[in-house]
Amino acid sequence: MDTLLEVKDLKTKFKTEDGTLYAVDGISFSLQKGRVLGIVGESGCGKSVTSLSIMRLVQKPGEIESGEVLFRGKNLLKVSESAMREMRGRDIAMIFQEPMTSLNPVFTIGDQIDEAISTHRPKLSRAEVKARTIEMLQKVNIPAPEKRYGEYPHQLSGGMRQRVMIAMAMSCDPELLIADEPTTALDVTIQAQILDLIRKLQKETSSSVILITHDLGVVAEMCHDVIVMYAGKIIEYGTVEDIFYRPRHPYTRGLLDSIPHFESGQRKKALTTIPGLVPNMLHLPKGCRFADRCSRVQSDCRQQYPSLQRLRGSHKVACFHPIEDVRKDVSISSEGGSQ
């Protein structure tokens, strides 16, 4: 498989009055063509900053300190701002959590999608651009696209606005789509529509997707591979089956256990919780950042940070005392990624 994106030892820091904090602290991963990669973690773990760093959209006081972001082999952190600008939207597109704040309230949605298309395809005539916009609106299942073309963002519902964002992002056939919590602000029935749409478009265009979310259900449903982040670091990486059936990091296990399940046997029992809180990013412990909340902690965990170690296949974990491999399922190896 072709590697589309490779991130190497990326570090993004924020200078604050109280000191410098590393929101993303030396992470490395790669993404193959046509795959959907999920990045999960709790608020403040650095998942959004990771995506912004890839797009080079980190704003002051944030700054990418070091590392490489190789997109088709080219280091995005080295290209000029104008070249980067050309690539944004054309090669890598992004959709955000809150579609209302990412759309301009004073332009019609037609104008805004037109702009995205004509910026990257200056040779198209106005009529051609409009035709493409309407085609995109149709593709994202917006009813009466000709009529919606002339409407403003406030006239649309939340789900519709997110569809418009997706239409805009996909209008130039990007190879990589970064979706940052695309359904967090939406109701479940609308979320199901949007996820279905992203999945359909991803298959049709065989683009790669990075899906950032805190919802493990969404990850299980959408992704082939998963990164679990904690306090700026990748603590576990694997296929979706690795992460959900054979989690090795105590934090991943804890996250999975703290979701209420439907199985009636589990009901009414107290939920398993992860005690304590996420550490302060300005005063990180010396060793493993999860040590204070971990049930398997031993003295070496507090001495140094465990590096990401390869286990089986692509499965990696950053833990000195990982949970034992519970490989009961025999059919696993034949299933490479869901859907």
């Binding site: 479940v188 996820l195 493990l216 959900f244 979701i259 919780t273």
Partner: protein, 322 residues
């Protein structure tokens, strides 16, 4: 079976919209459109539904933060729909609420101690300062806040800790019924689990009755004994939590349940994907409110709102196709 604590009969709440030159009432947002149910002492009733279905409005009407337009609320055999003044204030000791946003519902200029003391002062409980402080310290311990927190301000706490402060505040006056309005929606999963466990612990210790409002069906199922599903101001289905999740009867409940992403990569159930959005509560569709989006719709659904049907096992549903 324990005693009936709260009974709601045909409750309606609409918010008028004024317009035109004379600012006359031109329309109304019909947020709650005739809801009936009852809650027993010590149980948790879950209220689920999507944004705008009226679940929060209903919750607020129940504890009289909003005045219902019509209908009746009976608390411990007494009609509280129109009580006012001193009587209402007295009532507030028994009926409390926990809000969604722990950032917006705490006064940033008050210390935790002052926040927790305020309800005691207002209701003139523990007139002796020493007793009051003891009570506040006891409340903090009850919800798992450290004693140092007493003199700190809300901004010094994380979301989960703030929600604990909100919970302690609602417990201060020893209420019987607490409306929990999306208490964990703003929290991360691992913290969410801590707060849910705390709420359940407190319920057992103090014999509380909860009305638990949330849009997350997994959370509601976990905490509730019975669950009511709302759509556009109406309860479309009400049943024991287990029963509802195993045997949903209303097509909306079915769609809602199937729409939840399951944290299991192999669970590729057949998903019911509803088309369109929730209609506006200013102008709800004729007949069954759900018919424009319903995959099982027939002609009769457009004619009149379906009556409530009783299925075995105290399972209520409003659908002619169920």
């Amino acid at each position: 079976m324990s005693e009936m604590l709260l009974e709601v009969q045909d409750l309606v709440k609409s918010f008028p919209i004024y317009g035109g030159l004379l600012q006359k009432e031109v329309a109304a947002v019909k947020a709650v459109q005739g809801v009936s149910f009852s809650v027993r002492k010590g149980e948790t009733l879950g209220l689920v539904g999507e944004s705008g279905c009226g679940k929060s409005t209903l919750g607020r009407c129940l504890i009289r933060l909003l005045d219902p337009t019509s209908g009746k609320i009976i608390y411990k055999g007494r009609d509280i729909t129109t009580v006012a003044g001193e009587e209402l204030r007295e009532l507030r000791k028994s009926l409390q609420i926990i809000f969604q946003d722990p950032y917006a519902s705490l006064n940033p200029r008050m210390t935790v101690g002052a926040i927790l003391e305020e309800p005691l002062v207002i209701h003139n409980l523990y007139p002796n300062l020493k007793d009051r402080t003891d009570r506040v310290r006891h409340l903090m311990e009850l919800v798992g806040l450290r004693p140092e927190a007493y003199s700190r301000y809300p901004h010094e706490f994380s979301g989960g800790q703030r929600q604990r402060i909100g919970i302690a505040r609602s417990l201060a006056v020893n209420p019987e019924l607490i409306v929990c309005d999306e208490p964990v929606s703003a929290l991360d999963v691992s913290i969410q689990a801590q707060v849910i466990n705390l709420l359940k612990d407190l319920q057992q210790k103090l014999g509380l009755t909860y009305i638990f409002i949330a849009h997350d069906l997994k959370v509601v199922e976990h905490v509730s004994d019975r669950v009511a599903v709302m759509y556009l101001g109406k309860i479309v289905e009400l049943a024991e939590a287990d029963e509802l999740y195993v045997n949903p009867m209303h097509p909306y409940t079915k769609a809602l349940l199937s729409a939840i992403p399951v944290p299991d990569p192999k669970a590729k159930e057949k998903r019911i994907i509803l088309t369109g959005d929730v209609p506006s509560p200013i102008n709800p569709p004729r007949g069954c409110h759900f018919h424009p989006r319903c995959p099982m719709m027939i002609e009769e659904c457009k004619a009149a709102y379906p009556d409530r049907k009783m299925a075995p096992g105290r399972h209520e549903v409003c659908c002619i196709r169920a």
